[in-house]
């Protein structure tokens, strides 16, 4: 599968890291995430596990986690959103419904906008939680 992914994605892969035989991390450009997920999920048949958003000093980082169950390999696709004032990325939810909830969660927790999401509304936070206050952003100071 490692070779398959390298071959299918080619130059899209910016930074390939094998932290162990079962843990593979790589980075793609944010403009190419939908195409990358499409290849991994639809063509290569990986299972989408979840996505995780992190607030780092330089950028917002979203990692899309995929599992290749037959070999027990785990692929984590990293996307960096450098514009911290207006973080946005294309939504992968139109490709398959299993990604809808997690994008809603990242949107409300970190304020990352998913362009093209079919139903971007709050999932976990209460209705009266203040607009524009994102709990998982690291506050300065």
């Amino acid at each position: 599968m490692k070779e398959n992914i390298k071959e299918s994605l080619g130059s899209r892969i910016l930074d390939w890291q094998e932290k162990s035989i079962r843990r593979i991390y790589f980075t793609v450009k944010k403009e190419e995430i939908v195409e990358t997920v499409k290849i991994l999920f639809k063509e290569l048949g990986l299972r989408f596990v979840t996505a995780s958003g992190t607030d780092t000093p330089q950028a917002f980082e979203i990692i899309y986690h995929f599992s290749f169950d037959k070999a027990g390999e785990f692929y984590s696709v990293r996307v960096l959103l450098e514009d911290k004032n207006n973080p946005q990325v294309d939504s992968i939810a139109p490709l398959f419904p299993g990604a809808e909830w997690i994008e809603r969660e990242i949107w409300e927790m970190l304020g990352i906008k998913f362009i093209g999401h079919p139903n971007l509304k709050r999932l976990l936070l209460a209705d009266d939680w203040p607009q524009g206050d994102y709990p998982l952003r690291h506050k300065e100071g």
């Binding site: 932290k19 162990s20 079962r22 843990r23 991390y25 299972r47 989408f48 596990v49 979840t50 995780s52 992190t54 990692i63 986690h65 599992s67 169950d69 037959k70 070999a71 027990g72 785990f74 984590s76 398959f96 419904p97 299993g98 990604a99 809808e100 909830w101 997690i102 927790m109 709050r122 999932l123 976990l124 936070l125 209460a126 709990p135 998982l136």
Partner: protein, 398 residues
């Protein structure tokens, strides 16, 4: 003229731990759409974890769920150990076996609990009482090993906190032997009862493709012929040192999900027995070095499916980010396809079939939209479900 009615199920249920609100859109008896609203018990644990020491977090994540309360700490310690090179590199052999024993005991008690509730929803209240009666000795085993019936506090990075005493092993084996006839009885009750066949077969079907698209995990996926199980795909603990098999069914209906859970209890008993026999002597925890900056991923097959933790550290003693994804997060979302198209009397069991931390039926109310008049409450909906079973039984007896 079609007349659309919205049936809210939820959000509070005093019996179980997780409030959810399902709004069923019904036309006559048929469910045509469903809105799932969650978040009532969002406690900000991911954010809270960033303020705790790496050693304190297992206690925190243990409290995410009261039923699979060993899955989250286990997943978390696996994620931290992943940064250090993996579980097998640092954890002593004996601790691996103890970890698997705890993990499998928890699967038995969780499946029994689900079986009881499923029985209650379809009007088999005896099954409910029996299943919970036989769950009791499992909790006693937990108490014997860990001192607690729930929230065991067994897992720490590098090993486990408590050993299993030699004199306890025969008592545990005896308790497992006593459990077998009970599970035999449940298997007979499900497999041989024509009413249960009529009630559960062909209901709430998830096709294989739907399972893939909604990314469901655990027994919900395995009931639709998807061959996944983290214990085999990415072995942890003693799972690769003992003999057991993954249970797969093809039909994707609630009957298949029930069968899977019952047969998995047999496998869990087999696994625990082998662990008790093969467990070597030795240390139960290792000295853990400082956790370097890095990223780790842990995965455990919880009773409901794959539990996932992602941790990022920066070399201090606190995590920078802890992402938790419980199996129900994927499975509950799939109710959208499971329940739509069925009848309202099948809705409770369909929503319960994925074994969410299900908690809502008590506060169900059917409201007739135009005049906002309440026509059914939660108990009525369970009664509706039980009534259907009764009628089926009478029909079969004639």
């Amino acid at each position: 003229m079609s007349h659309k009615v919205i049936v809210p199920i939820g959000p509070y249920h005093p019996l179980l731990e997780e409030p959810e609100l399902f709004q069923l859109h019904v036309e006559g008896e048929k469910v045509v759409d469903i809105d799932i609203i969650i978040g009532y018990s969002h406690r900000g644990i991911e954010q809270l974890a960033e303020t705790k020491h790496l050693d304190q977090v297992p206690f925190l994540v243990e409290r995410i769920c009261g039923i699979c309360s060993s899955s989250h700490p286990y997943t978390y310690v696996l994620a931290v150990e992943d940064i250090l090179g993996g579980e097998y590199k640092i954890v002593p052999e004996r601790a691996l076996y103890i970890r698997t024993i705890i993990d499998e005991l928890q699967r038995i008690h969780s499946h029994l609990l689900w079986l009881g509730l499923a029985g209650h929803f379809i009007g088999y209240n005896t099954v409910w009482m029996w299943a919970w009666k036989y769950r009791e000795p499992v909790l006693d085993m937990f108490e014997m090993i860990t001192g607690n019936r729930n929230n065991y506090a067994m897992f720490k990075v590098g090993g486990v906190r408590r050993d299993i005493k030699d004199e306890d092993v025969p008592i545990l084996k005896k308790a497992l032997d006593d459990l077998l006839p009970a599970i035999d009885m449940f298997r007979g009750a499900v497999m041989d009862d024509p009413v249960i066949h009529a009630r559960l077969k062909g209901v709430g079907i998830l096709t294989k493709q739907q399972c893939i698209d909604w990314c469901v995990v655990g027994p919900t996926a395995r009931a639709s012929g998807i061959n996944i199980d983290v214990r085999r795909d990415e072995p942890y603990g003693a799972c690769d040192r003992i003999d057991w098999k993954v249970i797969i069914e093809k039909d994707g209906d609630i009957f298949a999900k029930t069968v899977i859970r019952i047969l998995e209890m047999y496998e869990s008993i087999r696994m625990i027995r082998q662990c008790l026999d093969k467990m070597p002597r030795g240390e139960i925890d290792a000295k853990v070095p400082d956790i370097p900056p890095g990223e780790g991923i842990g995965r455990v097959e919880a009773p409901r499916g794959e539990c996932f933790h992602y941790i990022k550290t920066d070399g201090t003693n606190r995590p920078v980010r802890l992402k938790v994804r419980a199996p129900s997060f994927m499975n509950v979302a799939s109710d959208k396809v499971g329940a739509v198209g069925g009848t309202i009397s099948d809705a409770t069991i369909t929503l319960a079939a994925v074994d969410p931390c299900y908690c809502c039926t008590e506060r169900v109310a059917v409201i007739n939209k135009p005049d906002n008049k309440k026509i059914l409450n939660g108990w009525d909906l369970i009664k509706l479900s039980q009534e259907k079973t009764r009628k089926l039984r009478e029909g079969l007896e004639k």
